[in-house]
Structures are given as C-alpha cells and as structure tokens.
Symmetry: C2
Subunit: 145 residues, 2 copies
Amino acid sequence: MNVRDETRAIREASFGWRIQRLARRMDERMGTELAKLGLSLPQFPVMMTVLEHEGVTQAEIAKRYHRPAYVISRALDGLQEQGLVERRPHPTSRRAHEIHATQAGAALSPRLHAIVEEVNAETLAPLSDAEREALLHLLPKLLGD
Amino acid sequence: MNVRDETRAIREASFGWRIQRLARRMDERMGTELAKLGLSLPQFPVMMTVLEHEGVTQAEIAKRYHRPAYVISRALDGLQEQGLVERRPHPTSRRAHEIHATQAGAALSPRLHAIVEEVNAETLAPLSDAEREALLHLLPKLLGD
DNA sequence: GTGCAATAATTGCAATTGCAAGTTTAGCAT
DNA sequence: ATGCTAAACTTGCAATTGCAATTATTGCAC
C-alpha cells in the first residue's frame, strides 16, 4: 500500500466511528426531548409511522422502520397504554391489526415534528447550505434508497 | 412555511433516520465479524484504543471513546477474561490502572484493522471517489472535531 | 495536616433488549 | 377439504444496558 492509499485507509477507518458518534449524539438529543412527552426512543418512529399512515398494520410498520416485529409489538404496548394509539381488528385478516392514532395521539403530531426539525437543524447547523445539500444527497446513495 | 422550506423539512426529517439506519447497518456488520473473534461490539473500540495507546488508563479510554466509565470497566472485564489485556498498577496513582494488551491481544491487531477496513470499504462502496472525499470531509465538520 | 470535593474504577439492581419459541390465522397445493 | 408452510403478532427468558450508589484514592484549600 503506498502512502496515499494508506492515508486514505486511515481516514476511511474513522468513518464508521464518526457515524456511530453522530448517531448516538442525535439519539441522546431525541431521547431527552421525547422523554418530556413521555415517549421512548423506540416508540418514536412507530408513533410517527402511525401518524403518517393511519391504519397501517404492524408488519408494515416493521418493514418501514426496518426493525423486527417484536420491537413494534412492544412499542405499541406502551403507546396504547398511554392512550396514544389503538389496535383495531383488520378488515380482511384476523391475525393482523390496523393501528390508529387516538385523538390524543394525533394531538402529539406537531410536537413530534417540531422535535425532529429542531434536532436535525441543530445537528446540521455547522454545515453551509451547499454542504447540507451534498450530505443529504449522499446518504440515500449510501443506503441504497 | 413555503413549499421550498417544507420540502427541505421533509428531507431533513429523514436525515436523522438515515443516520440511524446507517449506524445500525454498520454495527450489525461489525458485530458479526467481531463475533468470529469472540469480541463484542462495545469491547471493540476499547481493544483498539488499548492497542493504539499502550498503557492508557481507563478514564483515558472513556474519554477517547466518549462513553461512561462503567462501559470501559465491563468491556475490560471480558477482554481480560479472554486474556487479551491486563490491568497493571499505575506508576503514580493507586486508584488508576494502566491497561496493556497481552501478546494474544496484540496478535489480534491486524485482524481488527482488516475488519474495520472491510466494513468501511463495503459501506462506502456505492459512492464515487469524489463523493467519498466529500463525505469524509463533512463528517468531522458536523461533529466539531 | 485536616477536611472536603473531585477523580478512578467497580458493582447491585432495575429496566431494556434480543432471541427463539409460541399461538393463531392465511393461503396454497394436491 | 386436508394438510402444510408461511405470515402476523406475542411473550418467556436470558443477556445487556444504564443508573445510581459504593469504595478507594487523590489533590487542594485553609
């Protein structure tokens, strides 16, 4: 490996590490904001999905959220307990549930969006508009979506 | 909020989400590779730090790794049990430990570096050289380091 | 040099998580 | 229509984690 490649290797090596730090930092910020509303970190994406797609099935949430079914199950247990969502019988399948936000759940929507925007803005603050553009363009490419 | 800002808001909303997915994806890849060596995910950065900075103190590892002290404590318990590191008395402070890699631990070094390089290369594969450059430049700026 | 706040590290305990196994229902092949 | 595989969801249990309290030591203020 020549010097140029070696340098690149070292720089790239720290890539994973930085992604982890960034993810954790955002998680912590989100976590403290969500706690004020009585929500946990894993509950949050589930609640968002329900709000954005009224009547989704748990399996659909799991697929969008890229997490195993039991995570959804348990997140919903909590959300239901707090009266934010309900599991209604699915019209065509007796093993599936249609998940709906209750009125209280729907009322949470603006606050949740505000948190997301705030944390994202805060995190992206050190970048210029052009850099932000670039980053937001690169991420989906990395993930393949 | 005008249409342009709204669109931006939606794109930014997915920013945190995409970072989480990327982080988790890399964690999973790392996790399976490390498992083959008998290492856990939290043990890995600790082992790397010890290899790169022979004789560090646990508090120093915690600081570099940005994690609470008890995480280091427990990671070292495991690494020590596997005979990869030792806690030696600190020359000037009786409450601190100097952490050293054993011979077996040092022998692991090339394999660990190989894993890091592989996973990073794999993750960055969808990007062109220029895009990789750009991304590797943006991350430290975001994190402030 | 005495007392006191801070640092280094560990650990008990409760909460969270992940895995794998369980239940019920669907759909499909024959 | 019967049986068999797969899907949707749940749950018991063990492992991991995080918090807060504990021990031991240090350095500093007076």
